[in-house]
């Protein structure tokens, strides 16, 4: 929780400091920044839920169970017929995919109850993080100064440098991540609108874009998670639409519900982000070897799940800075 609060503080600190210099009151600055952030998140979630429920109502009014089953069966047939012969022989005789899907939906409904519990838990943690963040934002410089004051004279300059370097690496990493997430969100939005132009009939494009941007914060796995909402929406909106079913990517590859179009679009966005934008914006802010990043992700994911993955890289970056300073101190120990 404290780690989250610290990261949020790092992101918001610059804003609070700038505002404080303008209005000469730290309390009010913290309040203003927090209100703006909460307002933004509230508006986003609120309008997302209202639009989503609208979509769901429309979807359920349009589709009944039989149509869904029918759609699925045609889809399965279409795929089967498109497959080469030897692959057709390899698949199991049980083609009741729709039945399996219905079973799956039952399981999802059952787990909604346990999800409610998880949401309650999440809300508690979120409120705690929120409170910690406000305290840290208001008292950051006081905390920092008392931390610096606690360093013994012998290690004072080295300790101060260590604190500066940690702050620098964390904030530059976060700034880079924020910028690359924003760029993914913007490019995904543009891509989705482009697909709509060709008749993909996608709705909630802004939300899909933002979710893709946020998911992109998790290295390696995030980009694929970001595709899921777009695919779901494409499926929901186009079910029962024969044109969308028969759609072909570049007029060659069968791509029902624009499925492969969406995947291709996201792949292009990720390539632009990964090869052009991130190197230019983030540069070597953390400077970790890809293998080290992967190991960090594995460890973070095992300990804390997706959130652990989100923070694995900055945490490893901080660890690297600390180890580097310790090595430096050991090397210069006789001079301290």
């Amino acid at each position: 929780m404290l780690v989250f609060a610290f990261l949020f503080t790092t992101v918001l600190l610059a804003g609070v400091d700038a505002l404080e210099r303008k209005i000469q009151n730290r309390g009010l600055s913290v309040l203003a920044v927090v209100v703006v952030i909460l307002g933004g998140i509230g508006t986003f979630i609120g309008s997302f839920i209202s639009q989503m429920s609208q979509e769901a109502v429309e979807f359920s009014s349009r589709i009944d169970k039989d149509t869904l089953t029918h759609e699925f069966n045609t889809l399965v047939e279409k795929f089967t017929s498109a497959m080469p012969d030897f692959l057709q022989n390899m698949q199991s005789s049980d083609t009741d995919l729709a039945g399996k899907l219905a079973e799956g939906i039952d399981i999802v409904a059952g787990s909604l109850v346990s999800m409610a519990g998880a949401i309650g838990n999440f809300m508690f943690i979120a409120v705690m993080v929120f409170i910690f963040t406000i305290i840290l934002l208001a008292e950051y410089h006081v905390f920092r100064k008392s931390l610096v004051n606690a360093i013994p004279n012998k290690y004072f300059e080295v300790g101060l440098k260590l604190i500066y370097n940690i702050e620098k690496s964390v904030s530059s990493y976060l700034r880079g991540q924020f910028l690359s997430a924003a760029s993914v969100a913007a490019m995904s939005l543009a891509g989705l609108l482009l697909l709509n132009f060709f008749g993909a009939n996608l709705t909630l494009t802004i939300f899909i874009g933002i979710i893709a941007g946020l998911a992109n914060l998790i290295p390696l796995i995030g980009p694929f998670v970001g595709m899921i909402p777009a695919i779901l929406i494409a499926f929901m909106n186009n079910i029962g639409n024969d044109v969308a079913m028969a759609h072909q990517l570049f007029g060659v590859i069968p791509s029902p519900f624009f499925l492969f179009d969406i995947i291709l679009m996201f792949l292009i966005v990720q390539q632009i982000e990964g090869n052009l934008i991130t190197p230019a914006l983030v540069g070597k802010s953390v400077g970790l070897h890809p293998i080290l990043i992967m190991i960090a992700l594995l460890i973070g994911g095992t300990i804390l799940g997706p959130l652990g993955m989100l923070f694995a890289v900055p945490a490893t970056g901080v660890l690297k800075v600390i180890l580097k300073e310790i090595a430096f101190v050991r090397q210069n120990a006789h001079l301290l």
Binding site: H141, K145, V148, N153, K154, F156, L160, K161, L335
Partner: protein, 170 residues
């Protein structure tokens, strides 16, 4: 009628300056600063206490910034403490040292040792960078004043050099 509420409201009016600001006002690097600027600077300055004979920094150690003497005194030396110690300068209240470290990454060129219990104010490269980002006008002022101080020192060194050369040629 005296009310605690009114006293509180007007408390800030006759606020006396902190010891830190009073010390900073003696330093030429911070000349022509307004009270508001001193207040901003005070937030970045670190106050440290050193006991008698304690090293502030050692020769050849990596340097991060300058120190201003608030109370007490500091000697600047080369060589080891026992035997061949060569005292370059003895500094008192309001004096400052180590300012070269604000500009370069070179290691310290001398030892700084407290000669009595001293309170020093530390101002470091990163603080200067932070200030430069937050308030470029103030950062500019400090850099300009620092340039002036260094120029003054260089002029002093030149004078000594000329003097030494004239003595040699006579």
């Amino acid at each position: 009628m005296k009310s605690a509420k009114w006293e509180n409201i007007f408390k800030g009016w006759n606020r006396t300056e902190s010891e830190t600001v009073l010390t900073l006002k003696q330093v030429p690097i911070f000349k022509d600063f307004s009270d508001k600027e001193f207040a901003e600077l005070e937030k970045l300055i670190h106050q440290r206490k050193y006991g008698i004979d304690q090293f502030v920094f050692k020769n050849r150690a990596p340097g991060e910034g300058m120190y201003i003497i608030m109370t007490g005194s500091v000697k600047i030396t080369i060589g080891t403490r026992s035997g061949n110690e060569n005292i370059l300068a003895e500094l008192g209240e309001g004096d400052f040292f180590g300012e070269l470290a604000l500009f370069d990454d070179e290691p310290r060129s001398a030892n700084a040792i407290a000669t009595e219990d001293s309170a020093l104010l530390g101002f470091f490269t990163q603080d200067l960078m932070t200030l430069q980002g937050r308030n470029p006008v103030l950062g500019q002022k400090i850099l300009f004043n620092l340039g002036g101080v260094l120029g003054e020192r260089l002029r002093g060194t030149n004078r000594l050099l000329i003097k030494a050369q004239t003595v040699k040629s006579e």
